[in-house]
Symmetry: C2
Subunit: 437 residues, 2 copies
């Protein structure tokens, strides 16, 4: 187990408030062993931070990492068309191993943006897990048995029965969305949640259309009302998006301790709307930040999301003081972490997991120095990420990747898969060829 000592850092912590202290920080194995002024400790490696910032890694609260194949593949669709005309036909042609390879392109991008973990919702938990372990990415993999009857028993046996954490990878229970999963399957998911007292996670209230379709199908109940009626959130959980939520739905989320992961870039690009983030926070609902997938964003950049979420609140409320930047910094770190069940790495404190980012204050956007924490939100970008450490391992530094697999290999495998998917969809008779670029 190696010990890395960071000297002369500005250590930025986010709980209970955002603070910056001039300190040293010692990583021992995969944990933060000590922080303090001029630490007198032995270490295998000493890194002089030269006054640069060490902060908790960003937690990407909502991701579909394997969807790198869909990046700039077909921009300019509404959510439902985009799903049905582009995404679902391509996904139907994924082969075993594809998801494992495609995920790694996104993992590389997470490193460039200081993202040290992702809440990954996709089709094959085993492949997602394998990708994360191969790569060294901290990943929360969502288990979605709905639609696959055999998976209820399988997941119960494999993951739920005392094996919910597997080193870098942990698991949560959930389903895609109310509008894609039928009633009996939702009931079965809820039953499983009760059996193991598990929180549940899903897409919800992303567009007016999904809300209204639920109202039409379910005796005038809105999605959160309907799902809560199934006892879905009896042990908490979280929803992804939550753009259009009624007062009553917000009340249910607050009461059931269900968090919201907001995805401002994706919600803009698909014209889904602007989530009322500031209202949610005022009501005591925990709100975290996510990028959504590379097909609907298209970048996986927490700096983009941080700027957007505060900029959009200012526009929506016509108030430039809306959603202070320090709250945004917490959304992208500790709030997301806590919703994801990753409290063990939600901040930089002794005993926490060593998921750490170094922000380079010598980039022009960080100069001159006035208010470092707010400036990271308002002016930061990928070029300010000097180092990304996950679980005590430096995987990215000074623009270079220190991953087991070379980026060029990851790219070429992903390109091969993507080209094949596009070719197969284009040649399928029932699809107009123009939709896939």
């Amino acid at each position: 187990m190696s010990r890395i000592l960071f000297r002369n850092a500005r250590v930025l912590t986010v709980t209970p408030k955002v603070k910056i202290r001039r300190e040293d920080l010692l990583v021992d194995g995969n944990k933060i062993a000590k922080t303090g002024k001029k630490l007198k400790v032995e270490a295998d490696r000493v890194i002089d931070c030269q006054g640069n910032v060490l902060m908790p890694g960003f937690k990407n609260g909502h991701a579909h990492s394997a969807m790198s194949f869909a990046r700039s593949c077909s921009d300019g669709y509404r959510l439902w068309d985009w799903l049905n005309k582009v995404i679902f036909p391509m996904e139907a042609r994924l082969r075993p191993g594809d998801i494992r390879e495609l995920s790694k392109v996104s993992f590389l991008e997470y490193l460039t943006s200081g993202i040290t973990s992702c809440f990954d919702m996709y089709l094959e938990p085993h492949e997602q897990t394998q990708a994360a372990k191969d790569f060294g990415m901290r990943s929360v993999v969502l288990l979605q048995p709905a639609g696959h009857p055999e998976r209820y028993d399988q997941y119960r046996h494999e993951f739920l029965n005392g094996h919910m954490a597997d080193g870098l990878v942990t698991y949560q229970l959930g389903f895609h969305a109310e509008y894609t999963v039928n009633y009996p399957e939702l009931e079965k998911t809820s039953k499983l949640a009760h059996e193991y007292r598990l929180p549940v996670f899903c897409h919800s209230n992303e567009t007016y259309r999904d809300v209204n379709s639920c109202i039409d199908r379910n005796r005038s109940l809105r999605p959160i009302e309907f799902l809560d009626g199934l006892g879905m959130f009896d042990y908490g959980g979280g929803i992804f998006h939550g753009v259009h939520l009624s007062e009553n739905e917000q009340y249910i989320l607050k009461t059931r301790k269900v968090g919201i992961i907001t995805n401002p870039a994706s919600n803009c690009k698909l014209a889904s709307g602007i989530a009322h983030v500031e209202y949610y926070l005022e009501k005591g609902i925990k709100v975290g930040l996510g990028t959504d997938g590379p097909g609907s964003n298209n970048a996986l950049d927490m700096f983009r999301e941080m700027y957007l979420v505060t900029a959009l609140q200012k526009i929506q409320t016509n108030d430039p003081t809306a959603l202070d930047a320090l709250t945004v910094l917490q959304m992208a770190t500790c709030n997301s972490a806590q919703i994801m069940g990753l409290s063990a790495c939600d901040d930089l404190q002794e005993g926490k997991l060593a998921d750490i980012v170094m922000i380079d204050l010598n980039r022009p956007s960080m100069q001159p120095i006035n208010d470092i924490a707010r400036n990271i939100v308002y002016a930061g970008g990928k070029d300010c990420v000097k180092m990304t450490m996950i679980d005590g391992n430096i995987l990215y530094m000074d623009g270079k990747f220190y991953t087991k697999e070379e980026p060029s290999k990851i790219y070429s495998k992903a390109q091969e898969i993507t080209s094949r998917l596009k070719r197969e969809v284009r040649t399928a008779a029932y699809l107009p060829t123009r939709i896939i670029k």
Copy 2:
């Protein structure tokens, strides 16, 4: 005069349409000498692009480069409070030489974002010019005689009488805004414009408040109606922001060939509103992109502006097909250039000035390759800028600066000035201390 040959590039051109060709490109001195497949030419330096993109540098159509002192200095104000309580008091304490030094921090950031020229509106044209020449930044400096009676003659003599271009630096005529300049001074500016048949540039229609204050003061005329009544735009020009424009004002702008520089990040952060960019373009008004100053943005990042302008149009019109990414790419390059009077570097063609950016397709956000041009808009960021060349000189490559002055020197001078300004404003009795962080 050195000759640089770029081999194996994807050359992205933007006029009349966005196109990508696999070509070589030869720079001779400060111009693009030749493009074509496998050029057989001599060169002093050969750069193998390995399939990466060469594209025209971004043109920052609206900037206050010297305002780096105000970055994250006081976030969370409305435009008018921000100007009167924070910015004007600090500006009043600027000393000779400060503007020259402060500008260079922004110039460094432009390089990191592939911005090769800026339309710089600030207080001291001589210092702005000196900064651009010292640094090697292509700069359009706005001459604003209004409020300084002696400057009308000085500018007429120095700049207007046949000396409007000075190598890297060119000049344009303008004024701050209708709401900060009195009637006689506006008349004098318009007279000067007529004398030399010059386009005129100014802030306009940024907030409801500036529009309404104009209506109150000027016989119910809106800003563009009022200014046009003074003959201000008889030779064209441009307005910065243009968030709130009536149909009649849009008609005037179109008729007078006045462009609009939109600044989406600044307009969000100050809660000014969302410009109806797509309507303006449909009406045939030329719209370019700008960052505004580092105090109100706070980043100087054309990738941020490109993403925001299209994302906000999609939200505003509730249509994910609004404002196609290829149009956005033109806004950030040739449209801005043409409004700024920089047609000589609006695209990558033989004979044009060599203001060139190389986009690194080997960054994860650019992978896999599906639609390169749109992906630059939707997923690009500063970390994708592999090289920035201005006037034939490579000033930035692989994250390193090749400027005459070391970034560390530029930073320390700017920090010294900024700290002094904050100290002086804090100790001024009439200002509450809390407003400057």
